[in-house]
């Protein structure tokens, strides 16, 4: 087991280098000039000497592979460079924006887990019954809805027509004068709609997988055998079916977690939430290389780590899996 963990961890390194190298090449070889982008309208007045000085300051005069190696070395020491656009450290910028994205993603994931698993288990146990049929149709429909559209419709109904939720943002203007409970309520009020939009497709996805898994486990020999022995249905469901059918949920979370972070680009833009997604979106447009690189690399690293954790959790949860 320990040997397996070490081997898998080492195997992350070439994949990580591959991913970051590709993104680095895409960002740096693409047309568009970050220096002119940074200076904006004044760039036509920039003298060639000043231009060269800018290039040197930001290390843009060196060959591309050397720049990549410097970047990689810095990344490994948690030095993500300085943003061209904001002039601040990339790490600091990300930390500023992180709470918003993390908050909406934690709630979205929780909702996906609770509703997805509950609906999936019930549909699997009562398969062919009314609940299964209705939930299948509803979830199938939810899965095909276009997220930005759902977001706009929710804003139209709940924010514009009914006035229940605010139209966007993370906090109200008078947030600083509120006491703790008012602050919590204010944030909840602001994130309600974004969380719904982020989670409905996940619920459909998880419920479907759990349902299939429950049905598969129910058809196993040991469940039939337990039933033949006269074990009561409640015990069978709880100890024989439920436990084993929840194993696939682990894999889902290893893929849902990273995709939720990337998925917040659109949600954060629609609801004007100042999170990671908005930061990335604006960085891409202003050719802010360090921010684009830093966020892509962190996101790739998170993906790789969550895949590893999922693999290991499998072994912990399912004693039938052994890693040599």
């Amino acid at each position: 087991m320990l040997w397996y963990v070490i081997k898998r961890t080492i195997l992350i390194i070439p994949t990580f280098i591959g991913i970051t190298l590709v993104i680095f090449l895409v960002v740096h070889l693409a047309p568009g000039d970050p220096i002119r982008g940074m200076i904006g309208e004044m760039s036509s007045k920039l003298s060639p000497e000043a231009y060269e000085l800018f290039k040197k300051t930001y290390g843009l005069d060196k060959p591309i592979l050397e720049r990549y190696i410097v970047w990689l070395g810095n990344f490994l020491t948690f030095n993500f460079g300085n943003s061209f656009q904001y002039g601040k450290g990339v790490g600091e910028l990300i930390l500023d924006r992180l709470p918003v994205t993390i908050t909406i993603n934690i709630f979205a994931n929780l909702i996906v887990l609770i509703f997805g698993v509950t609906i999936g288990v019930l549909a699997g146990i009562y398969r062919g019954k009314l609940f299964d049929k209705v939930s299948s149709v509803v979830l199938f429909g939810l899965y095909s809805l276009f997220e930005p559209w759902v977001a706009l419709m929710l804003i139209l109904v709940f924010s514009i027509n009914l006035g229940i939720f605010p139209i966007g943002g993370f906090t109200s203007i008078n947030f600083d004068q509120m006491n703790f409970f008012e602050k919590v309520a204010d944030v909840m009020n602001h994130i309600a709609l974004p969380v719904i939009v982020l989670s409905y497709a996940g619920i459909a996805f998880v419920a479907k997988i759990v349902r299939t898994s429950v049905i598969e486990v129910s058809n196993q020999e040991y469940v039939k055998f337990a039933r033949a022995l006269g074990v009561d249905e409640k015990t069978i469901r709880r100890h024989y079916i439920l436990r084993n059918s929840l194993i696939p949920v682990i894999t889902i979370f290893s893929t849902v977690l990273p995709s939720l972070i990337a998925g917040s680009v659109i949600i954060e833009k629609i609801f004007s939430l100042p999170g990671i997604g908005q930061l990335f979106y604006s960085a891409v447009f202003s050719r802010d290389y360090p921010v684009v690189m830093g966020l892509s690399a962190i996101s790739a690293l998170l993906t790789l780590i969550s895949l590893l954790i999922a693999d290991l959790l499998y072994a912990v949860v399912d004693p039938r899996i052994r890693y040599e």
Partner: protein, 318 residues
């Protein structure tokens, strides 16, 4: 003995939802191909001075003096601006209303079908070809080839796809060709994995071994024996992939990085809708409905195909 194809066909057509999906997709492809005939402000056919012109939108002819003309069902162009009829509500002169520049929303959605269907098919077609070739090579040769290709699959799969697409599109000029290229380039891993796994299974069967012993060339065995037995799951994933590609294109156009106005796409109509959400709800509602219908139909079609192709699944003709 029935052929496998007729077996799949009869099973597919006994699945009502799948057939509905198939019919809707067929209809959408028809709309995409003949969009110019369905929504246009020029007549389809007209007679001027005793001479017949068809189709009129290709000829430069003054049809106002026509003695006979047939107009399209939706007599508006998706590009024609009319500032006297800005943001008109639906069910007026314009069935689905007009946008901020006075263009007919229904005409724009009809022409947007062309963008969505084209992007879906071309992008996933590209992905399919890349995926099949790489999956086949990995499964057929195994060893070092497999290790390299598997590593490549892993790298592309772990890419934060939307981040990568946004990054590429911010630097490339945003047009429909670049979108298809980027989606195709990032979307092939699912197909490659399925083909690779199936190829491994087929490789251990006797007919492949015998072909090899008899000295058949690799490329012949690959396509004649292996691929034909390994392609089913990939075809199913292709159908789901088209739905995914349509959603990605719509997202990109919605973010302003996709198809650029004035060319209509469901995503950029929705983007306009988001700017006028407080008093022109129809601009946001209808393109979303179009996307929903398309994606649902593709998903129904994909599920029906998967069930029909898998002999273990019992089809209930309900």
């Amino acid at each position: 003995m029935r052929s496998y194809f007729s077996f799949v066909k009869s099973r597919f057509f006994s699945n009502k939802l799948g057939v509905i999906g198939f019919v809707v997709i067929f209809f959408l492809v028809f709309v995409a191909v003949f969009a110019d005939f369905i929504a246009n402000d020029k007549p389809i056919l007209c007679i001027v001075n005793g001479k017949l012109y068809f189709p009129v939108f290709y000829d430069k002819v003054n049809y106002s003096s026509a003695s006979f003309k047939i107009m399209p069902i939706v007599p508006y162009s998706p590009y024609k601006m009319d500032f006297s009829s800005k943001l008109l509500p639906p069910f007026s002169k314009h069935l689905l209303g007009t946008d901020d520049l006075g263009r007919d929303v229904l005409a724009r959605i009809i022409h947007g079908t062309r963008v969505s269907i084209t992007v879906g098919i071309v992008a996933m077609g590209t992905a399919f070809v890349i995926g099949v070739i790489l999956g086949l090579l990995a499964g057929y040769y195994g060893g070092i080839v497999d290790i390299i290709i598997s590593k490549l699959i892993e790298v592309v799969m772990t890419f934060p796809t939307l981040f990568l697409i946004l990054t590429i599109l911010a630097f490339l000029p945003p047009n429909i060709y670049n979108i298809m290229f980027v989606i195709g380039l990032t979307g092939w891993t699912g197909v490659a994995r399925l083909v690779r796994a199936e190829t491994f299974k087929v490789m251990s069967s006797d007919f492949v071994k015998i072909s090899k012993v008899m000295g058949a060339p690799d490329i012949y065995i690959m396509f004649r024996h292996v691929l034909i037995n390994a392609i089913n799951p990939a075809v199913v994933s292709l159908v789901f992939g088209v739905a995914g590609a349509i959603l990605v294109e719509s997202s990109l156009s919605f973010l302003g990085l996709g198809v650029q106005p004035p060319m209509p796409s469901w995503g950029n109509i929705l983007l306009t809708g988001s700017q006028y959400i407080d008093y022109a709800w129809w601009l946001a509602l209808f393109p979303g409905v179009a996307i929903f219908i398309t994606v649902t139909s593709l998903n129904l079609l994909g599920e029906a195909l998967r069930d029909a192709m898998d002999p273990r699944v019992v089809i209930e003709s309900a």
